[in-house]
């Protein structure tokens, strides 16, 4: 960790204190991941990751191209699994590695831009963020995306303040890595374009405009083969999950989730309704000679542009507003918050920093402990229940169909498993659209030769209620049980004639 000594201005924080603090933060993240978050049930998205990466590289590319993602994470996870095994725990550990690396990366970015004190507090906020900790143990690409975002922004800041050739290489490579991690990395680049337009005269890098164009061309050339492949395949648009058009509540929920995590509706309402307090924090920031420098503006933009950009496009073009996709804005938000708090008068700063940490830590605990935390998807218990209760004379029906992924991971029962709408993913490719007129026919096809239908309802794609109502109106419901928020298992008696036995 000697490299830490090279970062700017001691600001009374010695390098060994920095090293020790970062070590403790990383230890905190690892400990809670191993003991809590990685112990949770496999979730739908994770099941998809395992399904997609459990094949050769060409197969992965083909599957991911039909999905809404880019293949960088999946390829990496594929090789990770070859080394460490293909269970969910091993897959989650890869995300944890990126999360743990993110902590010193955020420190590096914030301390380079401002000072060590801001760097340490920003790193602490990232460590304590219940949102980051959640995705730090999820077998998806989000922590990888956050890490590449921070590394890329560090290169961008170095271009802004120093502008050495090596920074252009770093900048370009991290941009390519980011673009191959998630499409939303484009918002990081968009932010930089805005910032460049706004601050072009202050860039230290000579001939910055021309070099940005060259770098952009290289990145575009690097991502072009993938885009061409996806377009030629032409199936990506069929596999997008159904998302609602976001509202202003979703926008504020995103920031609330970044800082305070995923909370139940009642608590979340209180959190987002406290938005006027942000005005007060802005008032407190009115301090003589504490300038809002260009660097501060950059972090404000980096925290806002992706979220507002995704919001505007989701409202005007097509909904794809998901807070986890917007993780690219989280490190910048934390760095900005750390900077704002650092400029307050000492007493106010200490009180607010302490309050911030206590509230975040408290809500971190609530998110971890509360079984009703919205993002918890307890497929493990639900499918365990199905495995235990169903028999070979029963049928398990899943809606939405893609919940087949986590189900098959845990399922050990003998009943047939099918989906509603009926989906053969190995032959049909994308999930077929729901057709109300075909519902009766499909239900009959699924259930006619079985005694009991076990209907597992989760991940509403706009028709879960139709399916459940159909079963309720046509069969006798014999049980129902909720395993996590909006994850229900119902059982229905299909036939009243006794089951055939050998003796018959």
């Amino acid at each position: 960790m000697a490299w830490l000594k090279n970062f700017r201005e001691p600001k009374q924080t010695r390098w060994w204190i920095v090293t020790l603090s970062l070590g403790l933060m990383m230890g905190f993240a690892i400990y809670f991941s191993l003991t809590i978050f990685s112990q949770t049930s496999l979730r739908l998205d994770e099941a998809q990751s395992l399904f997609q990466t459990n094949r050769d590289v060409l197969g992965i590319l083909n599957l991911v191209a039909q999905d809404v993602h880019v293949p960088g994470y999946h390829i990496l996870l594929h090789f990770w699994q070859l080394l460490f095994g293909n269970d969910i725990f091993a897959a989650r550990m890869m995300s944890l590695v990126f999360f743990v690396a993110l902590i010193p990366a955020v420190y590096a970015l914030a301390s380079y831009t401002f000072d060590r004190r801001v760097g340490l507090f920003a790193a602490l906020l990232v460590t304590l963020s219940p949102f980051m900790d959640w995705y730090g143990s999820e077998a998806r690409m989000y922590t990888m995306l956050a890490l590449f975002t921070v590394l890329h922004q560090l290169a961008f800041m170095k271009l802004f303040k120093e502008g050495k050739s090596v920074h252009w290489v770093w900048f370009t490579l991290t941009a390519i890595a980011g673009m191959y991690t998630h499409y939303f990395f484009a918002f990081v680049i968009l932010t930089e374009i805005f910032f460049y337009v706004f601050s072009r005269k202050e860039f230290a890098a000579p001939k910055a405009f021309r070099k940005f164009l060259i770098s952009g061309a290289i990145v575009a050339a690097a991502i072009a083969p993938w885009i061409i492949y996806v377009v030629q395949l032409g199936t990506a648009s069929n596999t997008q999950p159904s998302l609602n058009e976001p509202t202003s509540v979703d926008l504020f929920n995103t920031y609330a989730q970044f800082i305070f995590g995923f909370q139940v509706d009642g608590l979340n309402t209180i959190i987002v309704s406290l938005w006027p307090i942000v005005v007060l924090l802005a008032f407190f920031a009115l301090q003589a000679n504490r300038k809002t420098t260009r660097e501060v503006i950059f972090f404000v933009m980096a925290a806002i542009v992706p979220v507002i950009g995704a919001f505007i496009i989701s409202v005007t073009v097509r909904p794809f507003f998901q807070s986890r996709y917007l993780i690219v804005a989280l490190p910048a938000l934390m760095i900005f918050v750390a900077w704002v708090l650092s400029i307050y008068p000492t007493k106010v700063r200490r009180v607010l920093q302490t309050a911030f940490v206590i509230v975040m830590a408290g809500l971190f605990a609530v998110q971890a402990i509360n079984p009703n935390t919205p993002v918890k998807e307890d497929y493990r218990d639900a499918v365990g229940y199905l495995s235990e209760k169903s028999t070979s004379q029963d049928v398990v029906v899943l809606t939405a169909p893609f919940t087949i992924y986590p189900t098959e991971y845990y399922y050990t029962g003998t009943a047939k498993v099918t989906t509603q709408p009926i989906w053969n993913r190995f032959e049909q490719g994308a999930v077929p659209a729901f057709n109300r007129d075909k519902l009766a026919e499909e239900v009959k096809q699924n259930t006619e030769s079985y005694q009991t239908a076990w209907l597992m309802v989760s991940y509403d794609q706009g028709y879960n209620e139709d399916v459940r109502d159909y079963y309720d109106n046509n069969f006798e419901r014999t049980s129902s049980k909720e395993f996590s928020k909006d994850l229900w298992v119902y059982s229905y008696k299909i036939r009243y004639d006794p089951a055939l036995t050998i003796a018959d």
Partner: protein
Amino acid sequence: MEFLKTTRASRILLITNLLLSVTYFGYFTFMSPVGNPVLFGLLVVAGVYHLWQVLSYIHSVWPRKRHREFDATFTPAVGVFITVCGEPNDIVEETVIAAKAMDYPEFNIYILNDGFVANRDNWKEAEVLAKKHGIKCITRKTPGGAKAGNINHALSKTNEDFTVIFDADHVPKPHFLKAMMGYFVDERVAFVQSPQYYKNHDENMVTGGSWEQQALFFGAIMKGKDTADTAFMCGTNMILRRTAVIEAGGMCETSIAEDFLTSLLIHEKKWKSVYVDEVLAEGLAPEDFLSYYKQQFRWARGSLEVIFKYNPLFRRGLTMSQRLQYLSSAGFYLSGLIVLLNATLPLIYFFAGLEPLAIGTMSLALIFLPYMFVVLYTIQVTSNFSYTFRALSFSLSSFPIHCKAVWQILTGKKSGFVVTSKKKVSGNFGYLVTPHLVYIGLVIFGVLIGLLREGLTAAMVANIAWAVIYIAIFAPFISAAFEKTSNDAEVDKDEIAIAPVKKEARG
């Protein structure tokens, strides 16, 4: 001086500010469902006021080029007036010594002694001081017109074409005259004003708060006004052209904000003014809460009189820029009513469950937050990051002072000119923040009522947050009121009340 290094805000930032302000106002006025009609109406009024002030500020700081003629060789004789009204001798003497040390070919110093007409016990000290330093002392024997009357009286006794005005505590720098007089080479320049800097701004919360408010005014605002040909006199650290003042009828004696009103009268005679953005004299901020309170009240009362009695919109001779600038400067003191209204809205919700708008609080936030942040950022950029939370606190927390000034104007009560004390006044001034303390009590009580009625709903939480913001804003002001001050001067009980003054109070 950092506050004078104002940054030219980019036009993009100002236009963004303008668009967001209009969008915010338009959104809640025309696109949001109305809640309680009365509250909605009041909110619209407040919105119009905010929009007006923001637009005026943008107009003030809008980047404009203005060429000023300046000739360093223009050095006519100058009369230096040091206005005195019972201030401590040591303070006046420091100003006299500094004035004598000014580097300029020809000038005469006069102490304008109003101690006699104001019944000050030490009124003779000024004459002794003048004799000691070999300067003239003009002691008025006939009262009238307060500080303006004192200056007019002195103008009648002197004959220099140009006159410098210094308050007793404003100590000029040696190059004061050389830095200012050259602008009078333009024969249509009536007066040149320089900043009113408080050298004691670090002394306590009151001086700090006073100064931080001044910094915005003498930084971004006055520099902007200068480019719009609307810089006005600020009572001290200024040079006047005798002919211009006489053409305007002399310093206006009918207002307690004589400098502001006289500027208006001079501008409507098509004279020009200049603001020099360099600290050329250093003075003293009010050092105790009572003095601050009285100073603010005098400014509020005097400025509001301009709106109600000399409304710039209807004065002939002013340019449109000047009309807007004078109106917005005087209108600043109406902000007390708006603060009172805005701070009361959460209370009304707590006690009655009434809201002006029937929209989700998040929708409002989506429009309001960008608007507010850009407004704050614009102020910070244009003031070169000299504006502070304490200045904001003092401005907004002065709402009882401003409301009282409005009330006195509307009811026609008279108020006298009370000179800001140059010595700390000791005493407990907690009673001056009674409205703020009552507000806190009402918030606590109201929150309990609201929680019992509907529990912790989104609307309750948002209103609690707003109430907390106002309490946090009032906190430095309340704290300043209770700040311990040394026993330098006794409280004049007659002055504390700031009651309508029956006699001519020239303190």
